[in-house]
C-alpha cells in the first residue's frame, strides 16, 4: 500500500433491518487531498460518515478501514475514539451551544484545567491562536448566537482543528451559507489543505465539487458508482452517475405566461414583533401575477424570510404600506387567516418549522387542513386518509404507507410532505422559502416540475432561494433584497449571476428599474 493513502475504506457493507445501506464500498482517500462525496439522499453517505465517526462501531459492519496503515476499530458507544484518532465531522446541523462563547464551544468537554477550575485565559488564548492560524475571522470571546451561520460553521471547524483533526469531514457544509460565505469556506479549505489537513467534502452542489475537490466519489443505492480525479469529470457525467439516468436539463421548461396581477405590495415596512424599534422590512414594492414564479434573491439577513413571514401574518408588525389581494386591501392576522385568504407558506428549515417529525405523514399533511374533514367533535379518518393519500400520490412521496413517521423520511420526501400540507389548503399564492435546501438532485427536479405544474394551474408562486442557478432557472422575475430593502426587480432577459450578486451585496440598485419607476 502506498504511503500517500491516509484512509483506505475496503469493502464496507452495512446492513440495517431490511435495507443494505452500504454494499461493498471501497474508497481510497489520499493524504492532504479534498475528496468530494456526492450522491442522492439515501445513497449511503451519512451511513459511511457515521461509521468513520464510530457511531456505528466496529463489528456492526463488514469490511475494514485502514487509517494510516492501521485498521480502525472503534468500540461501541465511544465517539471520542474517532476524535482522538484525528477524524472530525462538521455536521449538517450545527452542534454548538448557542449561549456559550466561541472559546467555550471549541474546548467544550476538554477545558484546560487550573486546579479544580477552568483556566479561562489559556482557553481563550488557545482558541484565538487556532482561529488566527487558519485565518478564521472570529473573536474567541463572541457569544455563538451572535454569529452568522457561516461563522458558526467556522467555529465548528476550529473546534475540529483544535482536536488535531487529520481528516475533516464536512457534511453539506454550504447548505445554509450565502455565496460570500461559501467563497470564504472554500478559501479556508484550501488553506487547511496547505497545512496538510485532508478533507472529505459531502455535498449536493455540483459546482462546489469542481471548485474545490481533487477527486470525487459518487455513491448510489449504497454502492460506489465511480471514484476518480475531479479533472476527469464534468457536471453532466456526475448527474448521470448520481441519478442513474440522464437529466437533460436541470430546470424543466414551462410554457404558460403569467396572467393578471393578484397580489400587490406597496411601500411595505415592518418591525420585529419583539423589538419594536428594529425595522426588518424597510420599504418593499412588488406585484405578482397568476401563474407566475416570482423569485426573491438575497443573502442571509437580507430580510427575505422576514418579508414573506410578515406577508403570511406570522412575524413582522406592519408599520406602513399597502397589501392588495385581488385588488382589495387586506391585512393578514396570522397563519390561519392567511390560509383562509388563499396564501400558503412552505417555511424555511422543514425540521424546525415545517414538520412534526414524531408524527405520521398523514397527520402532518392534514394538520393545516383538519377543517376540511372534521367538525369540532369528530375527525373523519377515512376522508382524511383519502385526501392525504391523493396528495401523497400527486407529489410521489416515497413511503410504504401514510402512517410512517416523518423523522424516518429522507429530506426530499420530508419536503414533499410539507408541500403537500400546504397544497391541500388550496392556495392561490404559494410562498416557498428555500424549498430545495439540502435535498438531492432527483428530488429537486421533481419539486421544480411540481412548481411548474402549479403555476400552469394559475397559482402564483413566490420562491426564495439561496441557490442562484435555481432562482435564475425557475423564476419569471427576480426581486433582489438587501438589508430589508428591495434593490430592484429583474425581468427574465436581465437575469445575470453577477448582477444579482452585486445588487444583493447592497452596493448598486438596479438602474433600469429605478428609471422605469420614474417615467410615469
Amino acid at each position: 500500500m502506498s504511503n500517500d493513502i491516509i484512509l483506505d475504506i475496503q469493502n464496507i457493507t452495512k446492513q440495517f433491518p431490511g435495507v443494505t445501506a452500504l454494499d461493498k464500498v471501497s474508497i481510497k482517500i489520499k493524504k492532504g487531498e479534498i475528496h468530494g462525496i456526492c450522491g442522492e439522499n439515501g445513497a449511503g453517505k451519512s451511513t459511511l460518515m457515521l461509521i468513520l465517526k464510530g457511531v456505528h462501531p466496529y463489528g456492526t459492519y463488514e469490511g475494514c478501514i485502514q487509517y494510516n496503515g492501521e485498521e480502525l476499530k472503534f468500540d461501541k458507544g465511544s465517539i471520542r475514539q474517532a476524535t482522538e484518532a484525528g477524524i472530525a465531522i462538521v455536521f449538517q446541523e450545527l452542534t454548538l451551544v448557542s449561549n456559550m462563547t466561541v472559546g467555550e464551544n471549541v474546548f467544550l468537554g476538554r477545558e484546560p484545567r487550573e486546579g479544580a477550575g477552568i483556566n479561562w485565559n489559556k482557553l481563550y488564548s488557545d482558541t484565538q491562536a487556532i482561529l488566527d492560524k487558519y485565518h478564521l475571522d472570529i473573536d474567541a470571546n463572541e457569544i455563538v448566537k451572535n454569529l452568522g451561520v457561516g461563522k458558526m460553521q467556522m467555529t465548528e471547524i476550529a473546534k475540529a482543528l483544535s482536536e488535531n483533526a487529520k481528516i475533516l469531514i464536512l457534511d453539506e457544509p454550504t447548505s445554509a451559507l450565502t455565496e460570500a460565505e461559501i467563497d470564504k469556506l472554500m478559501e479556508i479549505l484550501k488553506n487547511l489543505k496547505s497545512h496538510g489537513v485532508t478533507s472529505i467534502y459531502i455535498t449536493h452542489k455540483l459546482p462546489e465539487l469542481f471548485r474545490i475537490t481533487d477527486s470525487v466519489t459518487v455513491l448510489r443505492d449504497g454502492k460506489v458508482i465511480t471514484s476518480q480525479p475531479t479533472s476527469q469529470l464534468n457536471e453532466e457525467m456526475l448527474i448521470k452517475y448520481m441519478v442513474g439516468r440522464e437529466i437533460k436539463e436541470r430546470f424543466p421548461k414551462r410554457k404558460n405566461k403569467p396572467g393578471k396581477v393578484i397580489f400587490e405590495v406597496h411601500g411595505l415596512r415592518a418591525v420585529d414583533p419583539n423589538v419594536s424599534n428594529k425595522e426588518v422590512v424597510k420599504g418593499v414594492d412588488f406585484d405578482i401575477r397568476e401563474g407566475e414564479i416570482f423569485g426573491i434573491a438575497g443573502l442571509m439577513g437580507s430580510g427575505r424570510t422576514e418579508l414573506v413571514t410578515t406577508l403570511f401574518g406570522e412575524y413582522g408588525k406592519i408599520t406602513e404600506g399597502i397589501i392588495h389581494l385581488h385588488g382589495e386591501d387586506v391585512r393578514v392576522s396570522g397563519s390561519y387567516d392567511a390560509m383562509k385568504k388563499g396564501i400558503s407558506l412552505v417555511p424555511e428549515d422543514r425540521k424546525r418549522f415545517g414538520l412534526v417529525l414524531i408524527q405520521s405523514i398523514q397527520k402532518n399533511i392534514s394538520l393545516a387542513n383538519l377543517d376540511q374533514f372534521s367538525t369540532a367533535y369528530r375527525i373523519n379518518f377515512n376522508a382524511e386518509n383519502k385526501a392525504c393519500d391523493s396528495f401523497a400520490q400527486r407529489l410521489a412521496i416515497k413511503a410504504p404507507n401514510l402512517s410512517v413517521l416523518c423523522q424516518t423520511l429522507s429530506g426530499g420526501n420530508q419536503q414533499k410532505v410539507v408541500i403537500a400540507k400546504w397544497l391541500m389548503s388550496n392556495p392561490k399564492i404559494l410562498i416557498m422559502d428555500d424549498p430545495t435546501r439540502g435535498i438531492d438532485v432527483g428530488a429537486k427536479y421533481e419539486i421544480y416540475k411540481l412548481m411548474n405544474q402549479l403555476s400552469e394551474e394559475g397559482i402564483a408562486i413566490i420562491m426564495i432561494s439561496s441557490d442562484l442557478e435555481e432562482i435564475i432557472g425557475m423564476s419569471d422575475r427576480i426581486m433582489v433584497m438587501s438589508q430589508g430593502r428591495s434593490m430592484g426587480i429583474l425581468e427574465k432577459k436581465d437575469f445575470d449571476r453577477e448582477k444579482i450578486m452585486v445588487m444583493a451585496t447592497g452596493l448598486v440598485k438596479n438602474h433600469n428599474m429605478v428609471e422605469k419607476e420614474k417615467i410615469p
Binding site: S335, Y336, P347, R352, F353, L355, V356, K363, N382
Partner: protein, 391 residues
C-alpha cells in the same frame, strides 16, 4: 393468513410500549398472587384495587394531554383536594342549613359546584399559561400553594363530613349484579356494532379494512376481558360505581385526544410548536382548552375523593399530582411532549395501585412502600429508554 400475521407484527411493533407495560402488570399481579397465596386476586381485593385507583386516575387522564402539549400541572392534587373540601362544605354545612331534607338535590348541586370550582381554577391557570405565557411549572406551583391556603380557609382547620348516603354512592356504590351483566352485554354489543360500522365506512371510502379475523379476534378478546371483570367483581359487591365513572371518562378523553381536532392539535403542539403555529393551529386556545379539560377532571376527582373518604380534610389531595404524573410517565407519556395515551396512563395508574395494594397485603411498611415505588418508577422509565434505543 400471512396478511394477518404481518399486520399483527406491525401492531406489536408500533405499540411495544403498551404491551411492555401490560406485561409488567401481569408480572406484578402474578408475583403478588403467589406471595399472598392467591388472596391478591381474590374478588374482594381485586374489587378494592380498582376502586382505590380511581381518584388519581381521573387526574392522570387529564394530565396526559397537559404533558403532551409540553406543559405540566403541579396543582392537580391540591385542586382535587380543594374541590373535595368545597363539596363537603356545601353538602354538610350550607345546603344542610338551606334545604335540610333534600338529599338528592344537595348532592347534585354540590357535585356541580365541585366540578365548577375545579374547572374555573384550572381555567384561570390555563389562561395565565397559554395567553400570558407564564411557564406552567411556575403557575401551577403557585396555584398549589394558593389552594393549600384556601383549603385551610374553607375548613378552618377542621374535618368536614361528607357522608350522606346518596353522595357516598359516587365512590362507594356498587351496581347490582344483574345491572352489571346487562351493562356488559350492552357494551359488547356496541363494540361489535362499531367494529362492523367502521369496516363498512372504510369500504365506502375505498379502503381495504384490516383482516376480518383480526378485528373479530380483538373484539372477542376485549369482550372476554369485560366478562371476566364483571364476573369477578360480581363475586364481591358488583361493578364499582367510581370505576364505571372512570371508564366512561377515560373513553371520552381518549376520544377527544384521538378523534377530535383539539386532541390532534395538542399532539402537534407538543411535537413541534412552531410547525403547528405556522399550520394555522391556535396554540394559545388549544393549550387553554387542555387546561379546562384538566379542570373538569380535577373536579370529578375531587368529588370522588370526598365521597371516597367521606369527609374533607386539610390534607386532602396532597401528593396526588405526583402520582398522576408518574402514572402518565409509566404509561408511556413523553416528558418532552407530543407522545402519550390515555389508555397508557390508566394502565400506569393501575400498576401503581397494584403495587401499593400488594405491598399493603404483605404488611410492608409505608416507608418501604415509598422506596419500592420510587425504584419501580425509575426502573420502568429506564427500561423504556433502553427499549427505544435497541429498537
Amino acid at each position: 393468513m400471512s396478511d394477518t400475521s404481518s399486520f399483527l407484527k406491525k401492531q406489536i411493533k408500533e405499540n411495544i410500549q403498551t404491551y411492555a407495560i401490560l406485561l409488567a402488570m401481569a408480572f406484578v399481579w402474578a408475583l403478588f398472587s403467589f406471595l399472598t397465596k392467591g388472596m391478591y386476586i381474590g374478588s374482594q381485593n381485586f374489587s378494592n384495587l380498582f376502586r382505590q385507583m380511581t381518584v388519581t386516575s381521573f387526574l392522570a387522564v387529564g394530565m396526559v394531554l397537559v404533558i403532551v402539549t409540553g406543559n405540566i400541572d403541579l396543582s392537580v392534587g391540591k385542586v382535587a383536594g380543594f374541590v373535595s373540601v368545597v363539596v363537603a362544605k356545601f353538602q354538610d354545612d350550607i345546603w344542610f342549613n338551606v334545604m335540610p331534607n333534600n338529599e338528592l338535590l344537595t348532592t347534585i348541586l354540590s357535585v356541580l359546584i365541585g366540578i365548577g370550582v375545579g374547572t374555573i381554577f384550572e381555567a384561570i391557570q390555563g389562561y395565565l399559561i397559554s395567553y400570558l405565557h407564564v411557564p406552567s411549572f411556575i403557575v401551577t406551583l403557585g396555584g398549589s400553594w394558593i389552594l393549600n391556603g384556601a383549603i385551610l380557609v374553607v375548613t378552618e382547620g377542621k374535618t368536614i363530613a361528607a357522608n350522606q348516603p346518596i353522595f357516598s354512592y359516587i365512590a362507594q356504590g356498587y351496581l347490582p349484579p344483574i345491572a352489571g351483566w346487562v351493562m356488559a352485554g350492552a357494551l359488547i354489543l356496541i363494540m361489535f356494532l362499531t367494529m362492523f360500522q367502521s369496516r363498512r365506512n372504510k369500504v365506502k371510502y375505498g379502503f381495504t379494512p384490516a383482516p376480518i379475523a383480526l378485528d373479530i379476534t380483538r373484539t372477542i378478546f376485549l369482550s372476554i376481558l369485560i366478562t371476566v371483570y364483571v364476573y369477578i367483581v360480581n363475586q364481591y359487591n358488583g361493578v364499582q360505581f367510581p370505576v364505571l365513572l372512570l371508564a366512561i371518562t377515560a373513553v371520552v378523553m381518549a376520544y377527544i385526544s384521538g378523534n377530535t381536532p383539539i386532541g390532534r392539535y395538542a399532539y402537534a403542539i407538543g411535537g413541534n410548536r412552531e410547525a403547528a403555529r405556522l399550520s394555522g393551529v391556535n396554540i394559545n386556545k388549544s393549550i387553554f382548552k387542555v387546561f379546562v379539560f384538566m379542570g373538569i377532571l380535577c373536579g370529578i376527582s375531587g368529588v370522588v375523593l370526598a365521597s371516597y373518604v367521606g369527609y374533607g380534610t386539610i390534607a386532602a389531595g396532597s401528593g396526588y399530582e405526583l402520582d398522576a404524573i408518574a402514572s402518565c410517565i409509566l404509561g408511556g407519556t413523553s416528558t418532552l411532549g407530543g407522545i402519550g395515551t390515555i389508555f397508557g396512563a390508566i394502565i400506569g395508574a393501575m400498576l401503581m395501585a397494584s403495587l401499593t395494594s400488594g405491598l399493603q397485603m404483605l404488611n410492608v411498611t409505608a416507608a418501604w412502600q415509598y422506596i419500592l415505588k420510587g425504584i419501580v418508577l425509575v426502573l420502568a422509565v429506564y427500561a423504556d429508554v433502553y427499549l427505544k434505543k435497541s429498537r
